[in-house]
Symmetry: D2
Amino acid sequence: MNVRTRVSIVGATGYSGAELCAILARHPRVELVGVHSSSGGGSSPFASLHPSLAGRSGPAVTPFVLASLLASRPEFVFLATPNEAAAEIAPKLLASGCRVIDLSGAFRLPHAEAYPKWYGFTHPAPELLKEAVYGLSEWADGALAGARLVANPGCYPTSVILPLRPLMPLLAEGHAIVCDSASGVSGAGKKSDLAFSFGELSGNFKAYGVGSHRHEPEMRNALGLNERAPFVFVAHLLPVVRGILSTIHVTFDRPVSAEELTRTYRRAYDGKPFVRLHPAGTLPDLKDVVGTPFADIGFSLLGEGRQAVVVCCIDNLLKGAASQAVQNLNRMIAAGETEGLS
Amino acid sequence: MNVRTRVSIVGATGYSGAELCAILARHPRVELVGVHSSSGGGSSPFASLHPSLAGRSGPAVTPFVLASLLASRPEFVFLATPNEAAAEIAPKLLASGCRVIDLSGAFRLPHAEAYPKWYGFTHPAPELLKEAVYGLSEWADGALAGARLVANPGCYPTSVILPLRPLMPLLAEGHAIVCDSASGVSGAGKKSDLAFSFGELSGNFKAYGVGSHRHEPEMRNALGLNERAPFVFVAHLLPVVRGILSTIHVTFDRPVSAEELTRTYRRAYDGKPFVRLHPAGTLPDLKDVVGTPFADIGFSLLGEGRQAVVVCCIDNLLKGAASQAVQNLNRMIAAGETEGLS
Amino acid sequence: MNVRTRVSIVGATGYSGAELCAILARHPRVELVGVHSSSGGGSSPFASLHPSLAGRSGPAVTPFVLASLLASRPEFVFLATPNEAAAEIAPKLLASGCRVIDLSGAFRLPHAEAYPKWYGFTHPAPELLKEAVYGLSEWADGALAGARLVANPGCYPTSVILPLRPLMPLLAEGHAIVCDSASGVSGAGKKSDLAFSFGELSGNFKAYGVGSHRHEPEMRNALGLNERAPFVFVAHLLPVVRGILSTIHVTFDRPVSAEELTRTYRRAYDGKPFVRLHPAGTLPDLKDVVGTPFADIGFSLLGEGRQAVVVCCIDNLLKGAASQAVQNLNRMIAAGETEGLS
Amino acid sequence: MNVRTRVSIVGATGYSGAELCAILARHPRVELVGVHSSSGGGSSPFASLHPSLAGRSGPAVTPFVLASLLASRPEFVFLATPNEAAAEIAPKLLASGCRVIDLSGAFRLPHAEAYPKWYGFTHPAPELLKEAVYGLSEWADGALAGARLVANPGCYPTSVILPLRPLMPLLAEGHAIVCDSASGVSGAGKKSDLAFSFGELSGNFKAYGVGSHRHEPEMRNALGLNERAPFVFVAHLLPVVRGILSTIHVTFDRPVSAEELTRTYRRAYDGKPFVRLHPAGTLPDLKDVVGTPFADIGFSLLGEGRQAVVVCCIDNLLKGAASQAVQNLNRMIAAGETEGLS
């Protein structure tokens, strides 16, 4: 009854991997049997991964070696590695009978042809791209139960798709959907990079990746937009550590009321514990969600109901990575969606 | 020949007023004859207004009293007071023969009817609204020379109108213009307000004022858009002290090339020393302009030239307030545009 | 066996009070029966107090009224109010049979004569000052079990007394003990105060309260130093939200080895779950403890063992306030020291 | 009469080097004839070095090559390179007849034996260590006029020696002098280093370098303290970009009055334009000096005049590096001390 699922992590020392360890260490249905770094280096104590793990015991963090990982017999493996590493490792884990939840971008796009352009490498396992389930938890429910391979969504896409997807049937064709998203610096991972130094970022703000961000095809795919549809995504770098706030602009094909929009969101997210809808006309702040597994959504109507501004906030390391991965795990092991997350 | 213009300031202790004093104290064509606070209180030394004034002598900062201000016989008076105070004071100064550069919003909108809705007061001098010259320096040149009353633009409007105005003839009708602007906290002035405390703002980011920001009618007016035109402005509060970055989205009525857009901007701003155009496809950062009197503009084309993302950065206290006011003064006294500003 | 203790909070809407609610809401031995603000205002939902309470139910937050508080029959009341309010409320609660844990400074000093000078008010219940137990958990153990009134220590004192107290027998008389402590801004509480605005604090750092900080007599008292002993405490304000780091300098009366110092600290804190000793020669960072109930201590020896630099870090809102209050509660109800805190 | 001195810079692309260029570009007595990076790379425009240089012309920034530098015939060369590079370059420049102002630590310590321990290299030009003038401007006046080689002081030492040196005759022997100094991150230079990333530093504060900071022997030397004298210097890393605040604790050998201390400082610094003394009992903030060439000093007396807390603030890149280097240049070319600096 209370049997715990055996779980391993590869890529535990990055920001997302460490959050994942912090969650899984407290998960009542999970036994952490292996914790691995993907960057080599020596062994380090489990408790050193995250301040909240102080005093907790767990497997030592060791460099990833396939054979040793398999020796601890995990049923599930989370990959929080760079994209190309995940694309290499996942097929081997699946071949050994593990189920895989991949937090990288290695299996998010459906077509192998897209990988050289957006990710800079030729995909080593194109046959798995069709099988991989895109794990935006609130929309993937059915497919997760039996999935062997889950592609956990990107942080920006989570903050854009959740608020946009319910609105898609209402939008006027030919009018651009505009997404200005701003992320804290942890979204870029742990970086020894002058551009991410305190001296350069403090007091700064900038837009980047216009038309070239690899999260854009992921969003288009999940929203059913082809590459010519007028969809504009601009990433911005905030001088904060955690959190994403996306400001999204849409044009409806007819005037829409606040009540109708509220109903539309309710239909999509009632019963989804990690999506919180603000009252019409009010917008969430970044701070409302930092440190939490929630996506907060609010909207304001303009132009007599022809236009809306929708704001969605998430913690990029949680709902944008680690906690969403655990939501997916919960679905895959038929646990309650909030187990280990509240 | 080298006669200095006699200048006074009311509202010198706020963030913009202090920057203005710092500039004017070094201006080779200006003699500061009066420096006044609008909030009452006692007298304080001139050098206490701004770190860069250390060691400089200048008039003591005294509470504003009309008669004493006039006694020092200024030819020009800068108002950096709250909106309603400026609306009350300006007519009296004009009546006494002073020329006025108002950094508040008191004379920015052309119709008195707009004031109760957007500014919360009934305008006491509606007849002056027509006379006031809207002082977006790069576009107001001709009118400034003889102006008695200049309405210095708002900080957000400066960052939105400068990049948008040259593009207006190219835009597709019926498609929304979208402006997501993010400002540092000094834009709100010196505030004893929990919402602006370090504890609340550090690590936060939020959108505000959707459809209700008083800078929106100012932008529509300067861009020739009526109130039903699809124009969306969303202000955001950044956890930085200074600077505004506006990310602006437009749809053209036909495909446009980078060369054409560059030419369009060149036509508008060649010879304008405080507008800097980035090479096509590159965008400015906030840090490029903080502490400077420049507006930096960059753009990226999308959708095969049907769409553009334009980014404009300014220092909200300088090009968005104090340095633009001095650009305007320079025009009004027939000094070189950059005098006192480089 | 598993009977929960009935607990109320007064002052729940401040930073410390909100942290306290977040902890107590998850405490397995506690039932929160009343949650009150001390500042008046209306009623607000329990979950609005703290991001981590999202989705949790609990008593609505209502303005403090003695009779209503008593009507919910709490056995324990936490006071997280301003000092003078706590001094007024505590006697009434005690008279009604409640036990009180006071997070303010109202009962920290042993002599009523000290209150006008250090706290600015005449103490209304001097007879309780002798009875109050000073709740620095690691040193108060015995006295807590039967205490009716606990004075929870100040944040700076916690960070200074914990590292200093074990060293006191080793110190050279006549040589100054020097404590330079730096605190995040939440230590000052929620402030609508220009001096605590983001614009004023960002990028700043300053020393304050030299010789006049009310935490100094508290430290002297707990360390057994009279007011003429050479003890120097300087508070500094850091541009961070949470955390205190105290850098402490001592002179020994003979050369001391790292081993001896380590042994001294071990004797004091082995078995104390919330004090963590760093290896000799290494010092903790603020980030090691932010968001945790720990006090981290590290030291470096200098001058051939005649001098030491000791650094202690805590989260000012947790070990410096809320989590230490819960440590004390645990002792008072004979629960495990870490219950509700890990 | 108005002949400009020909000056070159090596190491112009670091934080201090860029500030130096920004100052020298406006200096009325200087002609910048060469601007070189010490880290290789290609050529870049002069104006790209610093935001305040926008629109200014100046020599292109080229990689340092001795022959090309000499070809532009500088009379003075500023070195803002890493320590070891400066130790290698300076002798060659001197041999070619240039005068050198070195902002690195290569010539700050008087004895070559100290270099392997504190700087990690064997000094290549020990004979120059005696000749080098230690350029703490306020104390080096006489020696600067004829100096060929000036060792510009470190940032921490400037903030410690200026407030301490006038007090030395008053101090009680055998009692420790304690200096807790906190610096913004630009003090560490431009770093591609995880430890200096925004993600790691934001919200953090830490002590480092206890007993092992290379600025400590520099301070002891300038204060006339041998290595066994009880002098404790602890560096701390602040989450701000610029500025150092040093909190210094001293014990006098007899009670001292505020008037006497004020007189002592006045005697030392009256007529020194870049040292500002606060009124007795008041302390400067970091923000008072950031962006300025000033050192601000304030003190509070304690223990009936037996102890003092002295606080000194500087901008680490200006008075702690670039502006002090220009103060020294001014002395060396017999210009006014404030020329180019106000």
